[in-house]
Symmetry: C2
Subunit: 164 residues, 2 copies
């Protein structure tokens, strides 16, 4: 049986606080990325993910899994980034079906240009009122929540539907 009784007020408050903070933070970050580097949030996420990967290279599918996008959405974003010269796309050598996305020097440069402002926004809006213990608590609690979510993935994160 699924529990659909109303949330008690304390739970509701916690949920609303999370949503509120996330929304305001996302909004501020979006502004900053656009102003400092002409990047949208999804574009920044892709570039940042690539920058974290060995040689700045990733398969499309691996990128799509790490982020929340659909494959077609990622194709669109990758095309935008390629047009802007921030990434390149090429077939994988070992599997001709796969496409390897690679961060270019220009891509790295944009990321480099954008990071200070990004950090500044996160610090100013999110980290300022948090002490060490708060950081620990947030990480611990949200880490547990994230694990829970990953073990019960939302519909969009499900593997692609197999044809019948």
């Amino acid at each position: 049986m699924t529990d659909t009784a109303p949330l008690d007020p304390r739970q509701l408050t916690a949920y609303l606080a999370l949503k509120d903070v996330a929304a305001l933070l996302e909004h501020a970050v979006e502004q900053q990325l656009k102003e400092d580097g002409g990047l949208t949030t999804p574009q920044f996420q892709i570039l940042a993910t690539l920058a974290d990967a060995p040689d700045g290279r990733r398969r499309m599918t691996d990128l799509a899994d790490g982020l929340v996008y659909s494959r077609s959405g990622l194709t669109y974003q990758a095309a935008q980034l390629e047009k802007a010269g921030l990434v390149t796309r090429a077939s994988a050598e070992d599997d001709e079906r796969s496409v390897i996305v690679t961060l270019t020097e220009a891509g790295r440069a944009v990321l480099f240009k954008v990071m200070p402002g990004h950090i500044e926004v996160v610090r100013r809006l999110f980290l300022t009122p948090l002490g060490d213990a708060d950081i620990t608590a947030i990480t611990d609690i949200l880490g547990r929540v994230r694990a829970q979510m990953r073990s019960a993935p939302p519909r969009s994160a499900k593997p692609r539907r197999t044809r019948s």
Copy 2:
């Protein structure tokens, strides 16, 4: 002087955990609202805000302030909701410039229909791994962050970055 030194790893982890959890939760909620009631997230937010107001009535401006939207965005959403019969719009009696948005019975019904699933998703993905102490901690910490955000000076006040 703005601090743009890199975030220490623990701070970064906390930030990423927040973003991750918020993104996954938003995505799951979006799916559920669409499936159970044909509502988008912004539409649900507006209906829920109205349901919380006395008589289910609010001025457009007050709605826009509570949510994060621009006025034109809210006008668009209100028009969609009105077309669907879930709200009505009428000029305020005391100020002819203002528009009062009112939740209809149909609007209340949709909200009623959607809430159990909404609660179930929030509970399953977010609340399940949280104890009482976690709820308290989250609420306290994020409450402080939210207060900080609302009082933080806008970034536009800062001097513009030098051209490259």
